[in-house]
């Protein structure tokens, strides 16, 4: 039995301790907002927060995160997340949208830690999150928009 704390709820799961957190979240907890893109922490589609830190759920075995506070896109509902989502929709950032859960989670973590990120800060925070539709320019604008809204 593995005990995972996801979005404030405790889940006792009879799963392989090696199972990546991503598949536990998707297949066993049933939250599918967190996406699978690469499986090797190269694309960021699976970004969740673990104790507030942006982390790649595809490459973390559940045994390594038991007992830690895991937050997925479904629970991204604080003032920062709301500001981020408001900016995302105002600017129509998403195209296919498949990477955007990860982009929103990465951005939310950035703004939680840094309310006035520079372009270089944004580059550093988001260069691990691929967007094949290349919505990057709008994401950058949206990050600044969200930061201003939170100021």
């Amino acid at each position: 039995m593995i005990e995972l704390t996801i979005n404030g709820a405790v889940h006792r799961l009879d799963i392989d301790p090696d199972m990546p957190l991503l598949w536990a979240i998707r297949d066993h907890v049933g939250l599918t907002g967190t996406k699978f893109g690469c499986g090797i922490a190269q694309c960021g589609a699976c970004t969740v927060h673990i104790d507030g830190q942006p982390s790649r759920a595809c490459s973390l075995p559940v045994s390594a995160v038991a007992g830690q506070a895991i937050t997925t896109i479904e629970a991204a509902s604080g003032p920062v997340a709301k500001a981020v989502q408001a900016a995302w929709t105002a600017l129509d950032v998403p195209q296919c949208g498949y990477c955007q859960s990860g982009q929103v989670m990465a951005t939310t973590a950035l703004l939680e830690a840094n309310r006035k990120p520079s372009d270089a800060d944004i580059d550093a925070a988001l260069s691990g999150n691929l967007c094949r539709c290349a919505t990057y320019a709008r994401i950058r604008t949206a990050v600044h928009t969200a930061a201003k809204a939170l100021a």
């Binding site: 799963i15 392989d16 090696d18 199972m19 990546p20 598949w23 998707r26 297949d27 066993h28 049933g30 939250l31 599918t32 907002g33 967190t34 996406k35 699978f36 893109g37 690469c38 499986g39 090797i40 190269q42 694309c43 589609a45 997925t72 896109i73 479904e74 991204a76 981020v84 989502q85 995302w88 929709t89 105002a90 129509d92 950032v93 998403p94 195209q95 296919c96 949208g97 498949y98 990477c99 955007q100 859960s101 929103v104 944004i122 580059d123 988001l126 260069s127 999150n129 691929l130 967007c131 094949r132 539709c133 290349a134 919505t135 990057y136 320019a137 709008r138 994401i139 950058r140």
Partner: protein, 742 residues
């Protein structure tokens, strides 16, 4: 040209298929059908639309049923805009879903209407008449219903922002009158709005309908489909293209917890398990023996060498031959020649391929997936499942990208999903889910090509002869599309017997239809054969043809000492759309004005899918010789701008997609094995590499043309031309990251 191929295929498909024309009405709501009208008939290429494009629910929501798959390009929003405009709906009440299963309703009008499909940037063109007519017909029926209900003349009924009203003070939402409207006969004719009365078409303030769902994890893709008892399958594909299964041992895999079965299917094996992780663990435990005697074992370097040799010979087929280019070049004051090399590239859409299959108790089959060609997949799935196509329902999901990958003719992942479900006797729904490695290793790719170009100029620098020889694989050879190949103005007899391969127009598009006025030109094609599965990749032929042409033209300009912009303009009809976008991009970018130290410009123009795009880039050179693309000014002519902000988004996206590809992306073969199998080695554009993009849309009253792909072709050559301006070096081998360019 793609359109004509589709039509031929569609006609062949249609003759052996019975169509289901059922009512899709929502209980208590309105499903707008409209009778065949002159306008509808003309707009849809002979198809008779007779069923639901628009559903109005009691809660006033208006759901459009889209004939085109939304892979991120925003076609659902375009279709909703067209309907809402004519219906006088409020944008906030609009919704969109995908439709399928009836080509008479959903056939791609830009392809002749006989088959449903999304590709070639045709979605808005295909929808332009159809969905405005649907909206207008729905409006007319609501007006008639209101008139009857309120006992007032129909001419006195007004509709604005979703509210039906009369001067007497009566008013109603759509939902209230939907059922009564539904009971009326559809109008024989409808009048479409005068463009001056448009409030939604061209409205820059409309936001996409799905942005919040996609920003909050609520958008469901195929990977997110959950069905009771559903199992997950992962494939085991041959290690080499063309290898076949000899034997396999699944005993260890089957002993693992969570593994349900290991089954064979027409494309290899699959491990079926209770969840993804169990399937992946099971896959590692399967041992398989493959017969690779007929497999493709060449390396990319081998193919490039062969292609380069072929490029030096005359082409096996001729796509265009105007004047006598060879003689003109022989007599030219100066000639110039260059050979370009393009790699295979995976589409690398972020959602790896997948499909979900369920057989219901009544024997009907349902398939959820990124159905870019649903009619073809329905037929293929039905044949595997052993049921008539009418018993297969295709649920068209929004997809996490595609870039052409899900417009696959052999229905690969759907074949696997259905075959695996059948192998376990359909006892549970099956989700076939590829991993990133499966997605990049199992094909398909933009074909590799070599282009050899030669030009001759007279003493004044005018091009007297132009020659382009393209060497590479055909995308359509071996598919049903090959039978439908047509060639605009090219004599098929000139290619017969050359090597018995079809002449694939997608190999030469963007090279044989140049807007430039050359005194003489010849475009040759040598189609090669390899075992590597290839496919259309966002912007198809123009992904390589536009690069070679636009970089080479820049070289000719440099040879003659002319400015690259001025030189292009001198070759264009000044009244053409090409000249207009080129001029607009140059003006907006300040072409010719001074740049800060270390900054350089490049320019390129390309027409693809009847949309003209010009781009001017600015690069900043770094001390180490590398560079960053800082700014791209893009001008586009795409007819009426239905959703201007989405046109900008598609140009931005096309630029980023194309930029990553020319800089870094390639799929290489090492003795037949794919080397780049994930994003650590198959590199794509990352956040910090994205330039600032500025898009200018040429105002137009022409019918809309596509924008999903045409942003891609100009970016590569524009950047390469800027690199030349900075370094005097030409980038002839792609991607730029290749060691040959170091």
């Amino acid at each position: 040209m793609l359109a004509k191929m589709m039509t031929r295929l569609a006609n062949a498909t249609q003759s052996r298929r019975s169509f289901m024309i059922g009512s899709a009405a929502v209980a208590g709501g309105l499903a707008v059908g409209f009778r065949s009208t002159e306008a509808a008939s003309a707009a849809t290429g002979g198809v008779t639309p007779f069923n639901a494009y628009v559903r109005i629910a009691p809660d006033n929501s208006v759901t459009v049923i889209a004939a085109h798959m939304d892979m991120g390009q925003g076609i659902y929003d375009a279709i909703a805009t067209l309907v809402a405009e004519e219906l006088d709906a409020d944008w906030s009440q609009m919704k969109a879903i995908g439709g399928a299963g009836n080509p008479k309703l959903y056939g791609n009008a830009a392809w002749g209407g006989a088959i449903q499909g999304t590709g070639g940037s045709t979605g808005t063109t295909s929808s332009w008449e159809r969905y405005r007519i649907a909206g207008a017909a729905a409006r007319q029926m609501l007006v008639a219903a209101a008139a009857a209900e309120w006992r007032v003349p129909a001419s006195e009924i007004r509709i604005a922002k979703g509210l039906i009203s009369h001067a007497s003070g009566r008013s109603a939402g759509f939902g209230e009158l939907a059922a009564k409207a539904d009971a009326l006969s559809a109008p024989a004719n409808v009048a479409l709005k005068d463009p001056k009365d448009w409030v939604l078409i061209g409205n820059d303030k409309l936001r996409r309908l799905d942005s919040m769902a996609k920003s909050s994890g609520k958008m469901d893709y195929t990977i997110d489909v959950k069905l009771p008892g559903m199992l997950t399958a992962v494939p085991i594909h041959p290690p080499l293209f063309g290898a076949t299964l000899t034997s396999f041992d699944a005993s260890k895999a089957k002993a693992l917890k969570g593994v349900v079965d290991v089954v064979q299917h027409p494309r290899g094996l699959a491990v079926v398990a209770v969840d993804m992780w169990s399937a992946l663990k099971g896959r590692e435990a399967v041992t398989a023996v493959w017969d690779d005697s007929k497999a493709e074992k060449r390396s990319s370097a081998d193919l490039a060498r062969e292609y380069r040799e072929l490029a030096l010979k005359p082409g096996l087929a001729t796509a265009r031959n105007d004047g006598n280019a060879e003689a003109a070049m022989a007599g030219a004051a100066r000639t110039i020649e260059a050979t370009f090399e393009f790699p295979y590239i995976a589409h690398a859409a972020l959602e790896p391929l997948n499909a979900v299959v369920r057989r219901n108790a009544d024997g009907t089959i349902e398939i959820w997936g990124g159905h870019q060609m649903p009619d073809i997949y329905q037929g293929t799935a039905a044949a595997i499942a052993g049921v008539p196509p009418s018993q297969v329902t295709m649920h068209v999901m929004k997809t996490g990208g595609s870039f052409g990958r899900r417009a696959v003719i052999d229905a690969d992942v759907i074949v696997e999903a259905v075959a695996v479900a059948k192998a376990i006797d359909f006892r549970a729904p099956v989700k076939m889910q590829w991993t990133r490695e499966d997605d990049m290793r199992a094909g398909r790719y933009r074909p590799a090509y070599v282009h050899r170009l030669k030009a001759g100029v007279d003493k004044d620098g005018r091009i007297v002869g132009w020659y382009n020889h393209i060497v590479g694989q055909s995308i359509v050879a071996g598919t049903p599309f090959a039978a439908g190949l047509v060639k605009n103005g090219v004599d098929m007899t000139s290619v017969e017997g050359a090597n018995n391969l079809p002449f694939d127009m997608t190999s030469v598009e963007g090279a044989n239809n140049l807007p430039y006025r050359f005194a003489a030109q010849k475009v040759d094609l040598t189609t090669t054969q390899t075992g590597v599965p290839v496919l259309w990749w966002r912007a198809v032929g123009s992904t390589h043809t536009a690069y070679a042409v636009e970089v080479f033209l820049d070289e000719v300009a440099a040879l003659t000492g002319k400015d690259p912009y001025e030189y292009r303009m001198s070759l264009l009809d000044p009244a053409s759309k090409h000249a207009r976008v080129l001029k607009l991009a140059a003006e907006k970018a300040g072409w010719g004005s001074a740049l800060p130290a270390g900054r350089f410009r490049g320019i390129a123009l390309a027409e693809s899918f009847e949309t003209e795009v010009a781009q001017v880039v600015e690069i900043a050179m770094r001390p180490d010789g590398s560079f960053k693309v800082e700014r791209v000014v893009c001008a586009v002519h795409c007819g009426v701008a239905v959703n201007p902000d989405n046109i900008r988004a598609q140009m931005e996206g096309g630029i980023g997609f194309g930029l990553g590809a020319v800089m870094k992306s390639q799929t290489t073969l090492d003795k037949g094995r794919v080397v780049e199998t994930n994003f650590d080695s198959h590199e794509v554009l990352r956040f910090d590499e994205m330039p600032v993009v500025e898009v200018h849309i040429v105002p137009s009253t022409d019918a809309p043309t596509g924008v999903g792909e045409p942003g891609v072709p100009p970016i590569g050559p524009a950047v390469a031309n800027a690199v030349f301006a900075a370094t005097k070096r030409r980038l002839h081998v792609l991607p730029f990251a290749r060691v040959e360019n170091a």
